[in-house]
């Protein structure tokens, strides 16, 4: 394979090498979190975590386990860097977005360590492209301190039922209000826009509802502008879990199947809007 022969000589220098036969298995999931230019990459022996943040109020993480990669070698316990995500995606799609079935772009991603660029070897149909993307000092991602013990309400829904709701959301509303309750309306998304209000209700016994565990009635509002990017992750996913904790922080976890049917996860954390109403 052209890619491995190219880097045979300097394999020892890389602290991280990750290869995929189909680069789309990485680029598709990264698109689900591309709402800012820069992303923090954090690689561990378990796999790759890519984090994008917005104004310390919203954080999106994409997890690609090491098993997804055809080759995954890491020489340290943790390797971190920051790159321009838009540039990375452009490189991953350098052979053009659309490909004939059966044709895919192969990727070998290599990193020598602090101060070195991220090197991508991309191959399709015998043509090889090498991209070197400058890296920066990774910022420390915000710790939202969201832990399972604090979770007050949790539902798991099939994404299909939420996709339509999210695509129809009234964008003139500044907030998206989420109500979760052990009693009516169970799970409700509400908007308050120029034309009036809208409510989307999902009852706990709906066959779209895979899990319903709500202990107390909570209503929280989140800025629409922060949550709108999560629609991309929703579009890719087949299931989504929605959790709120005692502070009203929101965790959205999306189960995404890639082209080869393997499972990856994307999660979004969001702070509630200033006035938190808990009734």
């Amino acid at each position: 394979m052209p890619l491995s022969t190219q880097s045979q000589g300097d394999a020892e220098q890389y602290v991280l090498v990750a290869s995929l036969d189909n680069a789309r298995n990485l680029s598709n999931i990264l698109k689900a979190i591309t709402f800012k230019d820069y992303a923090i990459f954090s690689a561990t022996p378990n796999g790759l975590k890519v984090t994008v943040e917005d104004s310390k109020c919203l954080q999106a993480n994409a997890f690609i386990q090491s098993e997804i990669f055809q080759e995954y070698t890491i020489k340290e316990d943790s390797v971190g860097f920051q790159v321009n995500l838009t540039v990375l995606l452009d490189c991953l799609n350098i052979f053009g977005g659309t490909t004939a079935p059966g044709v895919s772009t192969a990727l070998r991603m290599c990193y020598k360590g602090y101060g070195y660029p991220l090197t991508l070897f991309l191959e399709e149909g015998g043509v090889v492209t090498v991209c070197k993307i400058n890296t920066q000092e990774p910022e420390e991602p915000v710790d939202f301190e969201f832990c399972s013990t604090n979770v007050t309400n949790k539902v798991i829904l099939q994404s299909e039922s939420l996709k339509e709701a999210f695509s129809e959301l009234d964008m003139t509303s500044e907030v998206l209000e989420i109500t979760m309750s052990p009693s009516q309306p169970y799970f409700r998304l509400s908007t308050f826009g120029n034309s009036g209000s809208a409510h989307y209700d999902y009852p706990k016994d709906s066959d779209m509802m895979e899990l319903f565990k709500c202990t107390k009635t909570q209503t929280n509002r989140y800025k629409m502008s922060l949550l709108k990017p999560s629609t991309k992750a929703l579009a890719l996913s087949c299931k989504v879990s929605v959790r709120t904790d005692s502070r009203g922080f929101l965790s959205l976890q999306y189960l995404v199947r890639n082209d080869d049917g393997q499972i990856c996860f994307v999660e979004y954390y969001c702070c509630p809007d200033e006035e938190v109403a808990e009734d």
Partner: protein, 357 residues
């Protein structure tokens, strides 16, 4: 008012709103004992459409007590209500029932969709109470009447590009033709002329009282034609000489819809294939009925009172000249005109459909 639509009726209702959205930026909901009317007028008042759904269209149709004595028309912004019905395919797939309630006290129209999997969507839309804006059109006085099978007109207008603003419909005893219309003689070389003719036999009903060429806005009509095709309803056309409004309408047991459009005044006598240049001698800004817009609310009130008096069922549409003092020499499309029959001045006429139609 409280009504419930089931199954396919929701999609038909949505399609009506799509058609109305081609006309104006506002939608009026008018719940009446004879049914729920949806109306829209364009800003120039040169196009009006009304969809009337009889109580049988609904699974449940109840007028509240306040509707007994007065009509409460709710005016909604089209951009508030159209998004709710934007994706008809998804409505067909997912929506089992739709409930519409008008609550006058809190100025809200509540539209609820009950969907598959127990999911429900509730929209509370703000409305304004408004004057009853209705066009009264004495179709029984129209000399020319056509009734075309459902697809015929749709297939004819398909040949015109979507950007085509206006078309001319010509009628002679031997044929009916449609051709594109453009004003301004500058771009002869860039315009594609399209004309198609139909033999009177193509129509379910053909009546010609006066040979005429009428030019009207095609874009505003497309919505109704699309609705007619989706419901396989024949389209009736009532019109007269150029300058008088034209009415396109469809009806079946449970609903009626009509679009009334003003037509260009053509002061020259015309032949079937008049070169477009001659039309430029007409006023550059085509005169349309109700460029004359009522200035004061008082006038609108008087009109409303006049309109409401003696109202009967089925569509009645006529454009009323609002301000005769506007523009001497500018002809007025309907009524207040001496050379026309005096009956036309009696604006409250209902349009009765001839049994032969």
């Amino acid at each position: 008012m409280n009504c419930v639509l089931e199954g396919n009726a929701v999609k038909a209702f949505g399609k009506a709103i799509h058609s109305l959205s081609r006309i104006g930026d506002e939608l009026c909901l008018d719940p009446m004992s004879k049914g729920l009317a949806l109306r829209s007028v364009n800003s120039a008042h040169s196009a009006y459409a009304c969809f009337l759904f009889s109580p049988m269209f609904f699974q449940k149709y109840n007028l509240g007590p306040e509707q007994g004595s007065e009509t409460v028309q709710c005016k909604l912004l089209m951009k508030s209500i159209l998004p709710l019905f934007r994706c008809l395919a998804s409505i067909e797939r997912n929506v089992e029932r739709c409930q519409i309630q008008i609550n006058t006290p809190n100025d809200r129209v509540k539209i609820q969709f009950f969907c598959r999997h127990g999911i429900s969507k509730t929209h509370n839309l703000c409305f304004q109470e408004s004057e009853a804006l209705q066009a009264v059109f004495a179709s029984h006085l129209c000399p020319n009447v056509l009734k075309a099978p459902a697809r015929l007109l749709g297939e004819m207008v398909m040949h015109f590009p979507v950007s085509q603003e206006e078309i001319t419909l010509s009628i002679t005893p031997l044929r009916v033709s449609l051709r594109n219309y453009f004003d301004g003689g500058n771009d002869h070389m860039k315009i594609m002329y399209t004309e198609m003719s139909l033999h009177p036999d193509e129509f379910d009903y053909f009546q010609i009282g006066v040979e005429s060429d009428i030019t009207f806005c095609l874009k505003e009509l497309r919505g109704l034609l699309s609705f007619a095709e989706s419901h396989c309803l024949p389209v009736s056309v009532h019109f007269g000489a150029a300058g008088k409004p034209v009415c396109f309408s469809v009806e079946d047991m449970i609903l009626e819809a009509s679009v009334v459009l003003s037509t260009l005044i053509d002061s020259e006598s015309r032949g079937p294939s008049q070169p477009a240049e001659t039309l430029t001698v007409a006023p550059r800004t085509p005169t349309r009925c109700a460029d004359v817009v009522p200035e004061s609310p008082g006038e609108a009130d008087c009109r409303k009172a006049a309109v409401l008096a003696g109202m009967e069922l089925i569509c009645s549409l006529l454009f009323r000249a609002m301000s005769p003092e506007l523009g001497e020499g500018l002809p007025v499309l309907a009524c207040c005109s001496d050379e026309e029959e005096a009956e036309e001045e009696d604006v409250m006429m209902m349009m009765r459909r001839s049994p032969t139609l």
